[in-house]
């Protein structure tokens, strides 16, 4: 069994106007030491996936169906079926998360060290005070912070340092999987570069599974072994990162890749995907990308394509994929 396998996960938000289909049939697996990048535009449901995995849904978030099997070696457990007090054992210890705008997730009136100790002492009540402090010092070193800064408050930290502290917090209970939701989006490129390298290094060192969520395909390219491209609540393509970048089959993947400017390579005209992403209250029938798709046929707007494995490890949901020997250089 892989470390995490997600099968047909469906979660809707209930609103006055009906259901917002934010997570609509998501399936993937994640192994130890593997990093999965989830890329998609805002509102496509990326963050909702992580909230569903951790079962941290807001009140109007309704879990519909699916399974999340977590297996740390002692046999698979379906996190979805667990009662809340059981689930708590897996949150933070099994799967932890670095939230979006993480810098604001530190409590300003406690020292950074105390906040991390709180997490450790909560999940490992047998730990002594001194052991916990030693663990925090170790975590600080791991994320590249000076352990002397443990007793300082968040406002004494720079943005990049706060981000490191939040990563230390996420690592405090030795998780098997870390979910990073746009952890560098608010940071400047030089700080972002350091955090990205740090995260990759730690993930490899601790052999964790990582789910990295971002809208920025360049960042995703740097951290991911495999990439899932998400559009309007669904995965449209999933493969190893080189395949996604060099031989994309889904027209949306291709569009996304070709609409991203780069500072390397030749300057070329960028591709524009016409139209706008659909409203998830009322997504179009058939393939949700069909109204914007250059390859769309009548079938695309009538029948929904299944997410199938077209070659080992390469999943695709498309009726008219881009030809394998495409024009793409």
């Amino acid at each position: 069994m892989p470390l995490l396998s997600v099968n047909d996960l469906v979660m809707y938000y209930k609103t006055k106007m009906g259901y917002v289909r934010a997570v609509d049939g998501i399936s993937f697996t994640l192994d130890r030491g593997e990093s999965l990048g989830i890329v998609g535009e805002s509102g496509c449901g990326k963050t909702s996936i992580s909230m569903t995995l951790l079962r941290l849904l807001p009140e109007n978030g309704e879990f519909q169906r699916g399974h999340v099997y977590f297996d740390d070696g002692s046999g698979p457990v379906d996190l979805i079926g667990l009662p809340e007090h059981e689930m708590r054992k897996y949150r933070w210890k099994g799967i932890s998360m670095v939230f979006q705008a993480a810098m604001n997730s530190l409590n300003p009136v406690y020292t950074v060290g105390d906040q991390i100790m709180e997490a450790i002492l909560n999940h490992y009540p047998d730990t002594s005070f001194d052991e916990a402090r030693a663990k925090v010092a170790e975590l600080f070193k791991l994320v590249g912070l000076d352990p002397k800064r443990m007793d300082q408050y968040p406002h004494q930290y720079s943005g990049g340092m706060k981000q490191r502290a939040v990563i230390a917090l996420a690592l405090s209970c030795d998780p098997k999987i870390i979910i990073a939701d746009e952890p560098t989006t608010a940071l400047d490129v030089i700080v972002q570069d350091r955090i990205l390298k740090e995260m990759k290094r730690i993930q490899r060192k601790l052999n964790m599974g990582m789910i990295y969520i971002s809208h920025d395909i360049a960042v995703i390219a740097e951290v991911s072994d495999k990439i899932a491209v998400m559009y309007a609540g669904k995965f449209v393509e999933l493969a190893d990162s080189v395949t996604i970048f060099k031989r994309p089959r889904h027209p949306y993947t291709f569009g996304l890749m070709s609409s991203f400017p780069s500072i390397t390579g030749e300057k070329k005209k960028l591709f524009t995907i016409p139209g706008e992403p659909p409203n998830l209250l009322n997504p179009p029938p058939g393939c949700r990308f069909a109204p914007r798709c250059p390859n769309a046929t009548k079938k695309c707007s009538e029948e929904e394509p299944n997410f199938i494995e077209i070659e080992p490890g390469h999943f695709l949901a498309c009726w008219n994929p881009i030809k394998q020997e495409g024009e793409r250089a």
Partner: protein, 331 residues
């Protein structure tokens, strides 16, 4: 003054009070923009690139006169605009417009799209209602919100982010400006929407013979949009050059670090390690030496004791503010 340039900025300074002592005396200043000079040719767009807090937005705001400069001069088509008052000042505001970063905040939610776009016409007393309606309809057509009649009477909350930014662009164009300051106009938008807005802005620039100051933190976007790029660090321009020259031959150590740090959308590409120390500070009463001194990998003893280096033309059209680069080029 010659006629080559649409806009010239000379020794522009903008200081903000950082804190006040007893009786409100200002003791410290943030040197947001410090002795910045550049010029923009007719029909050109200049990218102003830097990290957050480097003073790029302040520079833009001073140019459109949303902020009064502490000192320095601005020339529009060769004319000094610093002393403009009354009708001439109004004329300046007509010719120089700004597009803001966040289309969710820059449009008044209580006004219809027509009112938003026509407001500048109203303020400047141009046209009657019918003419304004025609003008607004033409503009909506031009920015790709078609058919105009279906957008004109709607409210901003009914539009998506990309559509709102198109409205903001239409509003900036309604007075036929010759110069537009665009402050990160695409950074709030999704990737698939962003390219459309960037292409639209380039088309409009050609069609209306405008010039841009394009402010962005994203070098890849600047590359796509701009003929030249100026790199700003803590209130100073440290390097300015033609876009491809800057990207292929960055000379200032800050530019080099910045370029190395930009992630590349290619999983097989491996970047180097940016050579830069420490992190950004705030330019509050900065010491007179080079602003980049504390983080510079190639600093020398001379740098510590000298003033901030001037921008020197190291290669044709390629200006760098660094003593070491200058020395190495000569030696």
């Amino acid at each position: 003054m010659n006629g080559e340039y649409i806009l010239e900025v000379r020794n522009l300074k903008k200081y903000f009070p950082a804190d006040r002592g007893l009786f409100g005396r200002v003791r410290h200043f943030v040197h947001a923009v410090d002795e910045v000079s550049f010029e923009i040719k007719h029909g050109e767009s200049l990218g102003l690139v830097g990290e957050s807090g480097c003073g790029k937005t302040t520079t833009g705001k001073v140019i459109v006169k949303l902020e009064e400069p502490t000192s320095g001069e601005l020339f529009l088509s060769g004319e000094n605009v610093g002393k403009y008052v009354g009708p001439r000042k109004r004329d300046y505001h007509r010719k120089v417009q700004m597009i803001f970063q966040d289309p969710y905040e820059s449009l008044n939610p209580r006004m219809t799209i027509f009112d938003i776009i026509a407001e500048p016409l109203n303020i400047h007393g141009i046209g009657n209602l019918k003419e304004r309606e025609e003008r607004v309809a033409d503009l909506l057509q031009e920015v790709g919100l078609t058919p105009p009649s279906s957008f004109m009477w709607r409210y901003p909350h009914e539009l998506s982010g990309g559509q709102r930014q198109r409205v903001a662009i239409a509003r900036a164009l309604v007075l036929n400006p010759t110069f537009v300051v665009a402050d990160e106009p695409t950074s709030m938008l999704d990737v698939s929407i962003r390219t459309g807005i960037m292409d639209l802005m380039m088309e409009l620039r050609q069609a209306h013979d405008m010039s841009y100051l394009y402010i962005t933190h994203d070098l890849a976007v600047a590359r796509y949009m701009c003929e030249r790029i100026a790199v700003m660090y803590l209130g100073k321009i440290v390097e300015i050059s033609e876009t491809e020259e800057l990207l292929s031959n960055p000379l200032h150590p800050y530019t080099r670090a910045l370029l190395t740090a930009v992630p590349v959308p290619d999983p097989e590409f491996s970047r180097g390690e940016p050579e830069i120390m420490g992190s950004v500070t705030k330019p509050i009463d900065p010491p007179p030496r080079c602003r980049f001194y504390d983080r510079c990998p190639i600093r020398t003893k001379d740098c510590e004791t000298s003033d901030h280096p001037p921008l020197v033309e190291i290669l044709p059209g390629h200006f760098v503010a660094c003593y070491e680069v200058e020395k190495r080029k000569q030696g």
